[in-house]
Symmetry: C2
Subunit: 204 residues, 2 copies
DNA sequence: AAAATACTTGACTGATTAGTCTACATAGGC
DNA sequence: GCCTATGTAGACTAATCAGTCAAGTATTTT
């Protein structure tokens, strides 16, 4: 195969950047092209619509993050520590990003998903799919914690879904109030939601 | 004062309707006017921008709901029951709305707030303000529950903020997945977050 | 009746939007 | 050297966008 271009990745990266920082609606194809250093023709060579590009950008973001998630939720880490480390990781990433853009951006899955959910089934389904994958990390950590007697969670899937939703609510609040400190308290909330037995709280 | 027009209310109602069902970005001034039965000139007679209309629409929505909130969180109701009734109320309202529009719409404060937070400080501040008012209902219910020994909540303000965030995360998830049933489990999650002592769970 | 207030009307502007299209460039296989 | 696959370039369209404006209408105050 002749010539390989990195433009497809540049476009998905640019799209994620802009949509995370602003929104789906205010991120124009022109702006994405400009940031990626592409022309209109290249954009529509790789993607047949802004909607399709968005789905691809979300999947690409997931692929970039997967290795980190696998490490954070490694079975070698005590199950309750996995959550603490994950929450720290997200906090640090958001704080770091704030320095360049001035805002706490929250979770792009929620922001974009909430924005397009009633209007774009393609993007919505992609958000759904990635959401489900991420919950699996929570679910197996919960199952392990339950097996070790650290928590009582007879329905790990439901517990994971609940904790995931609570965490995303907190991320959304942090975005809206532009305050990363709102994430500080979440570890304790997570312990409550998980039902951590008092003597087993993870050390941090 | 001569002639009173209800157009201002018609415009804020139309705006809330459309933005809740779709999004801030995809709701055009033209569409708002059409639904309200107004012409462009009337719109800009009452509001100097789409942003200002949005802030007014959010405040108007708050005012319409305040009496309900006051009733649901009346001090005459046992404190933990207030939450259960509130969650039921929101569930029913979303389920009802689903019948006309086909989608679970979640909370407009979160959807709109998350969408515009980095771009429109006026709307963002309005969301913030209303958000804080609603948390006060949670806060005083938590304080009452604590005083009655139903829960342990030495910091009612923090607890209220945490519960509010968790609930909104669940509402956002319900919107994204278009599934009102995700709200069903929240009462139990709320009990965990609140730290309800087992023997004091509210009857429902 | 006149004047002032409180709206309504709808044509208009200039910018921006997503998406199209044709022509062109550059690389590898032969 | 030449053909084909893989891109790139950028002008173009038609729709839609938020917002402006000048002229008009209806209602109350004086």
């Amino acid at each position: 195969m002749p010539r390989v271009s990195d433009m497809k990745n540049r476009l998905t990266d640019a799209a994620m950047d802009l949509m995370w920082e602003n929104s789906y609606g205010t991120t124009s194809v022109d702006a994405i092209c400009e940031r990626a250093g592409a022309k209109k023709g290249s954009f529509y060579y790789f993607f047949k619509s802004k909607s399709e590009l968005t789905a691809a950008a979300l999947e690409a973001e997931w692929n970039k993050n997967k290795a980190n998630m696998d490490a954070l939720f490694s079975p070698t880490v005590p199950p309750l520590d996995r959550f603490d480390r994950y929450f720290d990781y997200v906090h640090d990433r958001l704080a770091e990003r704030e320095e360049t853009c001035g805002s706490i951006l929250g979770c792009p899955l929620l922001s974009i998903g909430s924005e397009v959910s009633t209007q774009d089934q393609g993007v919505r389904a992609t958000v759904d799919r990635i959401w489900a994958r991420k919950i699996k990390y929570f679910e197996s950590a919960i199952r392990d914690a339950h097996a070790q007697g650290l928590i009582v969670a007879p329905d790990p899937e439901a517990k994971a879904r609940a904790l995931f939703a609570c965490y995303h609510g907190t991320l959304a609040q942090a975005r809206i109030q532009n305050d990363v400190e709102l994430l500080r308290d979440f570890k304790e909330v997570a312990r409550d939601v998980l039902g951590v037995k008092h003597e087993h709280a993870a050390s941090s």
